[in-house]
Symmetry: C2
Subunit: 590 residues, 2 copies
């Protein structure tokens, strides 16, 4: 089932009506001057065509064929190589890249929609592109001018791809434990040795070269996370004239057999004295990696939104055509033996939940993308710093909440199909399998929740949270704000709960981790309330321009406030159950 | 990863300490007189050995190999045939069967634990057995003496298997739409013609014959669900002397490629004028089918509990051995580079949520199994009728709540594993894929919710609900009841919400379906509160006998009341959002 349609109408609504990008982008550098809304939409339209015509048709076949490993080589499914080449030719890999090296310098606020389009049409394919873009971002931000000149142009062009090599068999979250080591050579390069696992796109046949960014320890490094450095290690060494030289001493030992994203090669990478170059300062590799982490985590969150949207499109089409039973208030389709199931209230509830969560998620990703742009491009340093703090606060929410709600949506989208949702040919179960990884990788959602509550909310005495809530309250007191009362109540719940956890955590550190997951969800629903309030207000103003679209937006906002936001009552009540009950059992009693 | 251990200690606790089966079973028929607790435990111990030694080792390989279709024949994975034979030889297929035909006549209250053991070790294998047992139940209850004598002994012995053929391509939930037809022949048999889909075990190589129970319409049948009859249609015709005769005119057209339960053959069955015999009365096939539906739906619910338990065993083992980071209050394992993740509060929260939901689910399945036994075996007709009403009320809860919480548990069990949870070799993702179907088949959980609220709660003016709540309140006022205040509050929430929905539904029928899913979850959590209160009270009495076990039970109850039950606040708040907001959008606006 391939119903893929990029959500262009919704994106235009967000960019123009809700976030007013014309004003925002006027100051930003972009290809050929300030980006205009119409240009942006034309660009996304092109991306949508590529996604709908090239990527979506490869999604099911990619899942069936999977990536295949043979003696160190990885073959991607039929069509992926051509699709990647087309994607590279289109300049999409350098979409937000540095124009000095061939990137397009586009704002992240636009890129989030490109990314959603990729994840909504073919999540496995999307991964090859976003990992590559992530690697270029790290190189552009931290590497020497020589490295940038040598690697970025071909990576932006899609001639070469990139990978990020962090995890090792015994350590994922706790990177301080890594064992891969790097030794300085006389020529200034390093010999990198060690084994990395779970490396997305560590090996494949899409490009002639793959540029790995590898975390490793220098011989004299301090122990733990402060002794980690970042190295650029190409699969094939690049001569000083830019041509390809010898094969480097690294290989792909195997690929994983996974629940989903099967067309994405997840590699075990062996570095056997491979030649690499330091990126950024020695022992500051984690910091260099974390520069791009906020971008990557947002991208993973967007995978949640994209998959949810892909699942939603199928679910709506199925619910409109599947005949079963009669509506709750009598027959609707009198000429048919039964009514389309879209008339059943519980099916509506499922579809509207998907719609409200997905459109809320799209708004969140747009908001965070905008803050990333301000943090990078704004001329006022104060504004940059403030946006940076906002990004730091919202990144774990974006990563975890967008993927948890994305998973919920994909499960609902499968449920709408009844038995057919479980059958591979229909494609709905693949969305569940594919989106599931997004709750796990790039820092599990539990780790995100701890980052949000333990670090971003509590460590700075709630300053970042306070500023965000001020933004919401300043908005909420305006007469045009929609659902003011519900929004104010939700903010109050978040404030009170934050205070409650802070007070408890002062005497018992375990309270932070005990509350963190439900706290992150509470935070997410409250922030969605802010976004849905803004969306409803914007739709109300424009209602006459396009009644079908804007009235749907208003109705979805209404559903959100009435049927989704009240979930926070349960979350807060569970948090208040406290953390002591987690430790009444001994380890052996579990 | 195969850590399978049957939960014998917990079962003994439920049977003896919580439900006092000695008294209950004293009146029941069973093999060789009233069943005693020690005998029951010895029986389950045997089942557990079979599950641990034979079935669990075939779970992963079964998933990898899957059932294979070739030209009408289905090959099950290596080892399944021998396992099924061993299972049949053990008498397990006739466990609750009629002793007059070779069944063991065991109570359902014991059988639920056998079933959990099967689903907890190998859900695909379990399906072949439970469908076969379901078919024997229908035959025993509705078929003629001749049919019973001819089919039951071999089915109980596992020499033949059974299947249930309901769904057709265009109808699942709405069986009134079926097109399969049956025509009477001069010899009193029928010719059955039509196509059935999603037929579990419709074809396989486990047994020499397969006995299909098929829903079909007679030529003069009234339209809709009141015109459906049930037929027994064997794969191979059985001669009057019991030997196998000619192959019947039916065939397996293909099998489905599914998300999970891959070793279970899900068949398209073509009946081309196949010879069959009427089971029960003409046009009363749905009623005949629904006799066993309460049993089957409970069994599907138990699949949720079994899978959750299987996932939990792995998750605990992993969390005890995986080292990552340090506990919230400083290092615990000082001799190691990091602490086992079981010391992290969020990992504890996940494990305890699994534990509380799984043990609550086991208690619910035991309770409903007991009610099924009373409804069938009690000497007092009043008691039988009352139990029957209780079963009718609780069946949709058991089916949907046990599988929704089973899915939640399996996802948590996967999340505990981090990245390894996504890799097939570890086995954790299989639990998610395998349990997912249980929310869909045997009536989707949305249909269960509508059945609960629309039919079981509202249609009889809340009488069945009233009686159940009376049982809880009668218990709750006793001084030994644990968590009395929380339990009473929860019951009040359920009562109030039931009233609220009833009032709204009086003027707007859509309110039922709009509230039903969250209502079912509310109901489930409140009923678990009753069961956890009883379990805590029972554990408290016995604490000195086995402090390690009973203190764990008390701690898990505490966790349930503090961190799980409060979810009802969110459910009630969402229900009160009402149903009108589901219908503000036109179908085309979704």
């Amino acid at each position: 089932m391939n119903n893929y349609q990029p959500p262009l109408r919704d994106i235009r609504f967000l960019l123009r009506d809700v976030f007013n990008v014309a004003t925002l982008w006027a100051d930003f550098p972009s290809s050929g001057g300030a980006l205009e809304e119409e240009t942006a939409m034309a660009i996304l339209d092109e991306a949508g065509k590529l996604a709908g015509e090239v990527l979506a048709p490869l999604n099911r076949s990619g899942d069936e064929q999977g990536a295949q490993w043979d003696n160190g080589s990885v073959t991607t499914p039929v069509g992926f190589r051509d699709a990647f080449a087309a994607y590279g030719r289109g300049g999409w890999l350098g979409f937000t890249g540095n124009p000095a090296f061939g990137g397009l310098g586009m704002p992240k606020m636009l890129s989030v929609h490109l990314e959603e389009t990729l994840h909504g049409s073919n999540p496995s394919f999307a991964l090859y592109t976003v990992l590559s873009s992530g690697a270029t971002l790290s190189i552009d931000t931290h590497a020497s001018e020589t490295l940038k000149q040598r690697y970025l142009p071909n990576m932006y062009a899609g001639v070469w791809a990139g990978s990020m090599c962090l995890t090792e068999p015994h350590c994922g979250t706790d990177l301080g434990l890594i064992r891969t080591r790097a030794e300085l050579q006389v020529d200034g390069s390093y010999r990198v040795t060690g084994t990395k696992i779970f490396i997305t796109g560590g090996e494949h046949d899409l490009t002639e070269n793959i540029i790995h960014l590898v975390l490793a320890k220098l011989p004299d490094a301090p122990p733990g996370p402060k002794g980690i450095s970042l190295f650029l290690v190409p699969k094939i060494l690049v001569n000083s004239d830019g041509t390809l030289g010898q094969r480097n001493n690294l290989s792909c030992g195997s690929i994983e057999h996974k629940m989903g994203i099967k067309a994405s090669a997840t590699c075990v990478m062996n570095f056997d004295g491979a030649t690499g170059w330091l990126v950024g300062e020695a022992n500051k590799g984690l910091a260099a990696m974390f520069t791009m982490m906020n971008y990557e985590r947002l991208t993973v969150g967007i995978q949640g939104v994209g998959c949810a949207h892909g699942s939603y499109l199928n679910a709506v089409a199925y619910a409109q055509s599947r005949l079963q039973g009669r509506g709750p208030e009598g027959a609707v389709a009198l000429d048919k033996p039964a009514d389309p199931i879209i008339h059943h209230p519980d099916v509506r509830r499922m579809l509207l939940t998907m719609k409200a969560l997905t459109e809320g998620g799209r708004a969140l990703s747009t908001y965070v993308g905008g803050q990333l742009d301000i943090a990078r491009y704004a001329s006022d340093p104060q504004q940059r710093a403030s946006a940076q703090a906002r990004v730091a606060l919202l990144t774990p929410v974006a990563k975890a909440f967008l993927t948890d709600t994305g998973m919920e949506s994909c499960i609902l989208g499968q449920q709408v199909f009844g038995g057919h949702g479980y059958i591979r040919e229909w494609g709905q179960e693949q969305w569940v399998r594919d989106v599931r990884i997004a709750q796990i990788y790039e820092g599990t959602n539990g780790v995100q929740a701890l980052d949000l509550l333990g670090r971003k909310v509590l460590l700075d005495e709630g300053q970042a949270l306070h500023e965000l809530l001020k933004e919401i309250l300043d908005y909420g007191v305006q007469p045009q704000a929609a659902y003011r009362q519900q929004l104010m109540y939700a903010v109050e719940m978040l404030e009170e709960t934050s205070r409650w956890v802070r007070d408890r955590a002062a005497s018992s550190p375990r309270e932070v981790g005990a509350a963190s997951m439900e706290y992150l969800h509470l935070f997410g629903y409250v922030f969605y309330a802010y976004l849905w309030s803004r969306m409803a207000a914007a739709a109300d103003v424009r209602l006459g321009d396009d009644p079908e679209f804007y009235s749907a937006k208003l109705a979805t906002a209404d559903f959100y406030f009435k049927r989704v936001l009240p979930r926070i009552e349960g979350l807060v009540a569970c948090i208040r159950g406290g953390g002591d009950c987690l430790y009444s059992l001994e380890v052996e009693q579990l």
